[in-house]
Symmetry: C2
Subunit: 524 residues, 2 copies
């Protein structure tokens, strides 16, 4: 009975929740607690085995839980303060929902009897939480705590993987729970695939019709990519990854699978005249709607499903390759360095230099297009690494995800390749990196503007240099002093303007395992 607190008389509702979660494998709690979570904070000192990590802002906590879940394949818990605290975490829970990341999202609340008074911090937590949650419950009774926690984790890890929100009234956290309730372990779904779909897709591929295999979710594992490459080699199909995958293995001899482009025109071109076989990906649509451009990048009648998101798309691809008797594919070239010319930094050079620098097993959290796209273009040559991207478009995701990945995988080096504008939404992440001594290398693509918005203004036929439009998309007045911001949060930092300086800075940072490093990459 290792899960029982040393002094059983100290046990309370919060201990029950923690014990149940820990027995189900939860090891980390990304927390920004308030008054209504104090019994839970106290329980973290009574029940061992769950590591609390403090964030100065809730979006840091939820984004870190997303990064942790993507890498660990199991949930971290959050600890948030009623409706308003939870609200600050919604944006990154939105991304986690799109990534299908399991998260046990714990939200404290008033004593049950206090809600009717509509105190200042009271709000409709359910209405705020439902849009990002696959499962929501407010615990009603102390005798339900163990069951509800277990069911929350089961839901987070279930067929609809995602965020399970469990609201814990403070009186239930502090309730003394003398009769020890049983702690049923949650039922966790093992993904599977539909063999009849494999047979149908095999038949289609044998026709040699022009086909794109669109890979998402589990299809972007090593197994999935290798099987997809065999299928492509054997049938002439083209492989593409979804544009913003939750997690992709890359480099180290894996096939160089391009992504479906972000903008609709090149995406339409990539799919034109082809049937689209979905392996763990959703039917491709444009990210935004544009006048005169179809939202559906492939006609519904051209779409064939091999495996849905959440299914074992990698195993389905392996089965498909076997069914087609696809020949083995020679492993891709080993990691190879890019030659990068000396000179001022530009996004392409950044992509290549970062690709060169990645050590075996690196994890790269990518947010923002400025250097993100050039990096992905370059990184097939890198050593084997994992890429995590912004799945839901709620910006402020890259730095927290890097925190979660670093905590899930302490033996791997984590990079955050991050645009400057989006870094600001959860800038407090730097403090948590420093406090937890996480050796994350933060690369800020500092071009002092919302580049994507200037592109979109031009696409809309609007002048990006009109006074207000410029004022709302350019960030150079004042310029953000990234070295000072990093210092403010206790993170060592330097600024680089040339390719050589970036290479040296990366060498330095890689030699330092003592904590985070920030490198401001000054770009035109």
């Amino acid at each position: 009975m290792e899960e029982v607190p040393q002094n059983d008389r100290d046990s309370n509702g919060a201990c029950i929740v923690l014990e149940t979660a820990r027995r189900a494998g939860v090891e980390v709690c990304f927390a920004n607690p308030g008054t209504t979570e104090m019994p839970f904070v106290g329980a973290l000192d009574k029940v061992s085995g769950v590591r609390p990590v403090l964030g100065l802002f809730e979006g840091v906590c939820t984004g870190a839980a997303d990064g942790y879940g993507r890498m660990a394949g199991k949930p971290a818990m959050t600890l948030l303060h009623l409706g308003p605290g939870h609200a600050n975490g919604i944006a990154n829970l939105h991304n986690a929902r799109r990534a299908r990341t399991p998260i046990l999202n714990i939200v404290g609340d008033h004593m049950r009897g206090h809600l009717k008074y509509d105190a200042p911090l009271t709000s409709d937590i359910e209405s705020l939480a439902r849009p990002v949650s696959v499962w929501y419950r407010r615990v009603a009774l102390e005798t339900d705590l163990a069951r509800d926690t277990s069911e929350a984790i089961g839901a987070a890890m279930g067929a609809q993987r995602g965020v399970a929100t469990l609201v814990l009234p403070v009186d239930l956290q502090s309730a003394s729970v003398s009769a020890r309730a049983p702690h049923p372990l949650p039922h966790v779904m093992t993904p599977s695939f539909d063999a009849s779909r494999v047979a149908r897709v095999a038949e289609l591929l044998r026709t040699r019709a022009p086909i794109v295999l669109l890979l998402g979710d589990r299809a972007l594992s090593e197994e999935g990519q290798r099987a997809a490459a065999r299928i492509a080699a054997g049938t002439g199909a083209v492989c593409l990854g979804e544009t913003f995958p939750a997690r992709t293995e890359r480099g180290g001899g894996l096939p160089d699978i391009d992504r479906l482009p972000y903008f609709p025109e090149p995406a339409l071109e990539a799919l034109a005249g082809r049937r689209v076989v979905l392996a763990g990906a959703r039917a491709p649509i444009t990210y935004f709607g544009y006048e005169g451009i179809p939202a559906e990048l492939a006609r519904p009648e051209d779409i064939v499903i091999l495996a849905e998101p959440g299914e074992a798309a990698d195993e389905a691809l392996s089965a498909l390759a076997a069914c087609l008797d696809a020949p083995p594919v020679a492993p891709g070239a080993d990691a190879a360095r890019w030659n990068v010319e000396h000179g001022p930094l530009n996004p392409q050079a950044v992509g290549r230099i970062v690709s060169n620098a990645l050590p075996e097993g690196a994890i790269v959290s990518v947010e923002g297009g400025t250097c993100g796209y050039p990096f992905v273009t370059a990184s097939a040559r890198a050593k084997r690494h994992t890429v995590l991207t912004n799945t839901g478009g709620a910006i402020g995701q890259g730095l927290p995800v890097a925190i979660g990945a670093a905590i899930a995988c302490p033996a791997r080096r984590v990079f955050a390749l991050q645009s400057d504008g989006s870094a600001q939404y959860t800038i407090q992440s730097l403090w948590t990196m420093a406090r937890e001594r996480l050796p994350v290398i933060v690369l800020i693509a500092s071009n002092r503007r919302y580049g994507i918005l200037q592109t979109e203004l031009v696409r809309s036929g609007l002048p990006a240099d009109a006074p207000h439009a410029s004022r709302l998309t350019v960030l150079d007045d004042p310029p953000i002093d990234w070295l000072a911001i990093a210092q403010g949060y206790g993170v060592a930092a330097e600024r680089v303007r040339t390719t050589q300086a970036l290479e040296l800075a990366l060498d330095d940072a890689l030699a330092d395992l003592g904590g985070p490093r920030l490198i401001e990459m000054c770009l035109p």
Copy 2:
């Protein structure tokens, strides 16, 4: 027809919204736009008279709109990016809801036809917005734009003053609107009061029963406070302000009206054995529920309503004073300086020094108890000023509210008296202050801990020094370097440790009208 864009052919749906809002008095747009708001950004260059102010994070925008609305008495507009962008603004909209601040909350969204594809940024905006909105609508047709905008402003300024959320699909923003729709001006409520309640309260006061006049909302205007003081002098009633008022006038000879204490024990004591007359305040309840302590600080049968929040509580008090023939009260003492001993800073000294430093007409945005309570205790002696507090308990409110107040009242000096922990939630506010050259004086109470949580741990009988509890409430590893953070955002800053140094720093800051100043006040 000054509201018509210079070239009418350029008019589109976004222009219609802007023109309608501007005609109804909206002058400022606190914006953090994305792709789906680009036509609106373009319209800001076509329709003159609405000043866009960029925030690097949406909570800065919504908090600034709250501060603006409290001071201007009319709405600013926000401009937020779909559900996730709006989500980042919810915490401060929650505070605005509790403050009953009028805000026109504009949220862009996908093209109407794009929603069915459930693109990455799609979410249930209505579910996210309803809990903080008194009014919500998604514009359905371009012909509804003017009417919906007008009705949104009418709702924001109506009987249920607050946040009116208007969702603008991007295709409606860019729709060319050739037939100019009429722009009906919104109907704005003029607050009134119920004379029969005045008569009933007068009758009660004439009995000389022990009574507390609990003042909130409009009762805390100059007129309301003066009338309340007359009534108190004439009847022996005690005046108290609500604990966290949206706006209070203070100092400069106004009566020294204490606040209802935050913690339940002293609050119960303040009301014990007295009937409670509510003048613009809600029935007093505890902020949080505590075991064994009643949530209702006054028994329902002891409560008498003079005026509801939103009603003309100040006029009701004047009518009540007249009805009681209450004698005029000599104005309070003129502003008087506190004597502050030289030595290391402490919260009481900070409260007194800040009180001494306030120039006539200052606005003080207060967030956090460390120096907030000592300031309010000291500030009745100060020159006439306005205090804005955190009405809803969603922290990260003080700095953005100071931005909004400074933009609403450029001729008045604005102070943000801010605890360090809560400042971090919307720290990006500093950048907007620097960019807009707002001469806000930011005073950071730097005690490197969540002081309120340590107090609450002890109240719960939990050891605040247990390893995890301490780790989740102490912020000294690493300490936040406030000078560096300020420099990072382009804000001049200094650090003070003594009373003399704070006095000098305030003198310096007051002499500088060129932009914000941050003073880190190091506290034990």
